[in-house]
Symmetry: C2
Subunit: 97 residues, 2 copies
DNA sequence: TAAAGTAGTTTATATTATAAACCAAATATC
DNA sequence: GATATTTGGTTTATAATATAAACTACTTTA
């Protein structure tokens, strides 16, 4: 049981960054996440969809100042998955006794 | 400067496991790493090659009991890359204040 | 000497990541 | 009041990556 599986959905730089952001705020706008991560809108859109499909996050679509507004928030499932991922990671990076 | 780049070479489950093992031993045999990681020989061969190409590890080929023997060890470059990777990871996973 | 085992490498395929192209509406410009 | 530009995205085509299957080469056993 040495090396635990690293959830492939979380083991991706951009998706991990998205989750990291959402862990620390109640909710975040698409454009905010885009700025914080430096991702392109296209890439972000795809990765947000994947996290949503897995129910790690929720995505709400509305309008602000007449413009479309996409807001994301992390779910309980997402938080647990993230914690599991971090826990699994420890097995890889905390060996240097 | 929020989210640091995660070295793509290390941000892979199998390669990270290989590096994790090699950090804790002077050297390790191919078959030992194969057992510890549960990887297929083919996959392991490919990933070892990539780490070698980046000079993160060194690969020595010899014979033991008439059979080919491949032995790996981590380099200074590899250790530093690993430490950099772990450091960058902190920025993603240690936000939950 | 044929079959099975050891220790790998090479390569073909499937999956994934990403950027480019696109869409739709709002606003600014001429 | 057309048209160009900006905002806020999505879709899709391509490039990159991961992985297993197939293969190589040699050894041992029966």
């Amino acid at each position: 049981m040495k090396f635990k599986e690293l959830d492939p959905l979380l083991h991706n730089q951009l998706r991990l960054a998205i989750m990291s952001i959402l862990l620390n705020v109640k909710e975040a706008e698409f454009t905010f996440i885009k700025e914080k991560t430096g991702a392109t809108a296209g890439n972000l859109s795809v990765q947000v969809s994947k996290l949503k499909k897995a129910r790690y996050i929720e995505v709400k679509k509305s309008f602000k100042n007449n413009y479309p507004l996409t807001t994301c928030n992390i779910t309980k499932t997402g938080i647990e998955a993230f914690e599991g991922y971090v826990n699994a990671l420890q097995g890889y990076i905390n060996k240097k006794v």
